[in-house]
């Protein structure tokens, strides 16, 4: 028989008080929905950056004798901060798109192949709105942040509605069909949307490339001098804006999924659809809401991506979409936190690959391979750890 804990005799200890206090604090909504998610995001970003930086520095030490023109370690350290900033910025975009994949997968167990086109439509709608403002002359008079906010909002609405429409037209009639049937339909939808958008753009504007109007101070840098580092850190304003907006959206999504009744219903449907419907949950409505949320996130990511890329065409969604899917798998598909981590890791990996591949191989291989780096990651993850970084090992459903 186990001996009773001393506190059993001595009354509540001061330590236990502290645990109680902590428990109370962690169940506090402010902590649960604001502090914790933000802390998690920061921890993921810093942790992934740190881990990958250590690996690259180690590699630099290993390879330093192969490269004779310059000191590899010195060069690596010199560009490291900028590479990290770029990687985290693009990583947040991937994470936001990946959430759309992972939410739909969680609920329907189906890869929404047309999500990359939903992302593209959001971006193009946002840029077109800004171009319209430029045309009416409102762009110079309006606050630049209001313009961006309106563009993001419009992108979210259009993409969300589009995602729900696609689900109704192309996926809903196929529910319960063999696995590959809705996937093929989704591929068809993806192709259809690419050319449909191109058709609409070329009929209305005669040109299917859309270019972000030049306005505001987004291209300028915010310089932060850090003692001990030779070059000051340079953050582009648009990168900061991008990170800020995605963090707000991620926190909002976390609240929506974990703190509201709709979120509870979504989780229930993801866990067990027939039982959820027996509990009085309108499954079709919840699936539509899932597509709406995923689509809206994709649309917002599209506008933010447009801010960074400044030039979009109807086929721009393909690679970001695939990378985001890879990110979702890397983090553990169906897992929202996993999508965030996967996106950050993949963004960093891509940024590292684009910057270091040519330095390390003396120019034999360069940034042109960064797009297929994601596939290498995808194949490795699927072989070594199919459940992803944060996913639980679940039995594969046939």
């Amino acid at each position: 028989m186990a001996t009773p804990h001393p506190s059993f005799f001595l009354g509540p200890s001061p330590q236990k008080d502290r645990i109680e206090e902590l428990k109370q604090f962690t169940s506090n909504p402010f902590y649960k929905f604001i502090l914790f998610p933000i802390g998690q995001i920061i921890a993921f970003a810093l942790g992934a950056s740190l881990a990958l930086s250590l690996i690259i520095i180690l590699l630099a030490f290993l390879f330093r004798f192969n490269v004779t023109d310059f000191d590899l370690v010195e060069r690596t350290l010199l560009i490291l901060p900028q590479v990290l900033i770029n990687g985290i910025t693009i990583g947040f975009v991937y994470a936001t798109i990946a959430l759309g994949y992972t939410m739909v997968y969680g609920v329907l167990e189906f890869i929404n192949f047309s999500h990359s086109e939903i992302f593209m439509v959001g971006g193009i709608v946002g840029v077109e709105l800004m171009a319209y403002f430029e045309y009416t002359g409102a762009l110079v008079t309006m606050n630049q942040y209001v313009v961006i906010a309106l563009a993001i909002l419009l992108g979210m609405i259009i993409s969300g509605v589009l995602a729900v429409t696609i689900e109704r037209i192309a996926y809903k009639p196929l529910r319960g069909a063999p696995r590959l049937v809705p996937l093929i339909s989704a591929i068809g939808m993806s192709f259809f949307l690419q050319d449909a958008v191109r058709l609409i753009l070329s009929l209305t504007t005669g040109e299917f490339n859309v270019i972000l109007p030049n306005f505001g101070t987004f291209d300028e840098f915010w310089v932060l001098a850090v003692p001990g580092i030779e070059n000051p850190l340079r953050f582009q304003i648009k990168s900061l804006l991008l990170i800020g907006v995605t963090v707000v959206m991620l926190v909002g999504l976390n609240f929506l999924v974990n703190g509201t009744k709709i979120g509870k219903a979504i989780r229930a449907v993801a866990q067990d659809r027939p039982s959820a419907s027996l509990m009085g949950i309108n499954v079709n409505l919840i699936i539509s809401i899932t597509f709406l949320i995923g689509g809206a996130l994709g649309g917002a990511a599209g506008v933010l991506f447009a801010l960074k890329a400044t030039r979009l065409d109807p086929f721009v969604g393909f690679f970001p979409g695939l990378k985001a899917f890879t990110a979702a798998v890397l983090g553990g598909i169906g897992n929202l936190t996993g999508a965030l981590l996967g996106g950050l890791v993949l963004g960093l990996l891509e940024s590292f690959g684009a910057s270091y591949l040519s330095i390390f191989t003396n120019g034999a291989f360069g940034a042109e391979y960064k797009d297929i780096l994601a596939f290498a990651v995808l194949i490795l993850v699927l072989i070594l750890r199919p459940s992803g970084l944060l996913g639980q090992t679940v039995a594969q459903k046939a």
Partner: protein
């Protein structure tokens, strides 16, 4: 379709299938089609009439020997002659044959074994680049910058090595299939689709960028010229040339003969593919594939070696693509990474889905239909629109002048739209395809979750 319409059509089919009618219909179509295509080579309707003949041949009840005779007559004699008369049809029938062979290969992977391969064109690229690199001057350009070829470059192999590479292409593509398959075939269907898609892109990006450190693929400019195998010697060719000259109205050139030659070569591959596919379908392997497709867990429980059979399906499908890749490289004398995009993989997938997964006649029909749609129907539509654009015509009610129509609206460039619509509509309304496989028909009637 509504019930009365359905009964109307089945009545019509029954009536057409009685007595001498099947023979009259097919021979009539063959004659009318041949004559009209011969008379007015530009007419789409004439060509479609001719193409209706093999479809009718398939559906109507005729003596099997007559069927085969008419089919061979059409494929080996009539089409090449018409093609030499109007060179455009040579391109059409060559593409139909190439894509039919590709679709038959993909059908083994998707239709029989149920593995969705979205990067099928990668194997095609492997075959094409194999002959492109060895059958051109590329090997002597390895250390020069793309585009700046030194003067003394020579072909590294004699043209007749083409025949060896036809088989090497099969082997290389099968090897690539096995190498890709080994790590990824444990994955469930939808993951496999994305990984194969990634593999297709990897091959394309490699072809695009392997012009350094050594210039293997000549980068985005592609490799040209690639050698063609020698035609039969003059004493065989001259009589044929003399025979054809009065029929087609001009002396056929070597280039036209080459097109016919490659078309016939593709036909041989198709025949082999049909043979392999039909033999496989009800063999031990084919039944094992069907079992894997239907329920992997049950298949394992029955003692089916899962990975080995999946690899076999991947390799078998890939080998046809590799072979066609060699033929393609030799026919075009030029390969570039652009020819092996994701769009091509989806194009072949669309053919398989349109015709019917696992159905051999369906897949051939799907390939022909998509090729005709792509390079004839859409092209004609484009020409029609551009003609309208130059006229003064106005759309009545909305008062829209055709002149103002954007130049960007060129239906021939909207393949993706067409493929997308075909895929969605087929999946929703006819997932088994237009000519379903017998086995599929039974499966898809009632699908149990």
């Amino acid at each position: 379709m509504t019930q009365p319409m359905k009964t109307f059509f089945s009545d019509l089919y029954k009536k057409a299938n009685q007595g001498p009618w099947p023979l009259i219909i097919t021979v009539g179509l063959l004659l009318v089609g041949t004559i009209t295509v011969y008379q007015s080579p530009r007419s789409l309707a004439a060509f479609l009439t001719l193409m209706l003949c093999p479809v009718m041949l398939y559906f109507l009840k005729i003596n099997i020997k007559v069927k085969i005779f008419m089919g061979l007559l059409l494929a080996i004699v009539i089409l090449p002659v018409l093609g030499i008369r109007n060179i455009f049809y040579l391109e059409v029938i060559f593409q139909m044959a190439v894509f039919a062979a590709l679709a038959l290969g993909l059908n083994i992977v998707i239709g029989m074994a149920g593995l969705l391969d979205l990067g099928y064109v990668a194997f095609y690229a492997v075959g094409a680049y194999a002959w492109a690199i060895f059958g051109s001057k590329q090997l002597s350009l390895l250390h020069s910058i793309p585009g700046a070829a030194p003067a003394g470059a020579e072909f590294s192999l004699a043209p007749s090595y083409f025949w060896l590479f036809l088989f090497l292409g099969v082997g290389l593509a099968a090897l690539a299939g096995i190498l890709l398959g080994l790590p990824v075939l444990r994955l469930r269907g939808d993951y496999l689709a994305i990984v194969t898609l990634g593999f297709g892109e990897v091959i394309r990006v490699l072809a695009l960028n392997l012009d350094k450190p050594i210039n293997l693929t000549n980068g985005p400019q592609g490799i040209t010229p690639i050698q063609r195998p020698p035609l039969p010697p003059g004493f065989i060719m001259e009589p044929i040339r003399n025979l054809l000259t009065p029929i087609v109205g001009h002396a056929p050139t070597d280039a036209e003969f080459y097109n016919v030659f490659f078309y016939l070569l593709a036909l041989v591959v198709i025949l082999i593919a049909i043979g392999v596919a039909t033999r496989l379908e009800d063999s031990r392997i084919g039944r094992a594939w069907a079992a894997i497709r239907e329920d992997e867990t049950a298949a394992i429980a029955m003692g089916i070696p899962l990975v080995r059979l999946k690899l076999a399906a991947f390799a078998a499908g890939a080998s046809f693509a590799g072979c066609m890749g060699v033929v393609y490289a030799a026919n075009r004398t030029f390969v570039s990474p652009e020819s092996f995009s994701f769009l091509q993989s989806i194009g072949v997938l669309t053919m398989v889905i349109l015709g019917g997964l696992g159905s051999i006649p369906g897949v051939i029909f799907g390939a022909s239909a998509v090729v005709i749609l792509n390079i004839q129907v859409l092209q004609n539509f484009s020409l029609y629109l551009s003609a309208l654009r130059q006229s003064d015509a106005v759309i009545p009610l909305i008062n829209f002048a055709w002149k103002d129509l954007s130049n960007q609206l060129d239906p021939a460039k909207y393949q993706k739209l067409v493929f997308g619509i075909i895929l969605i509509v087929m999946m929703i309304y006819r997932p088994a395809g237009l000519i379903p496989a017998e086995r599929r028909k039974r499966e898809l009637v009632e699908d149990i979750e």
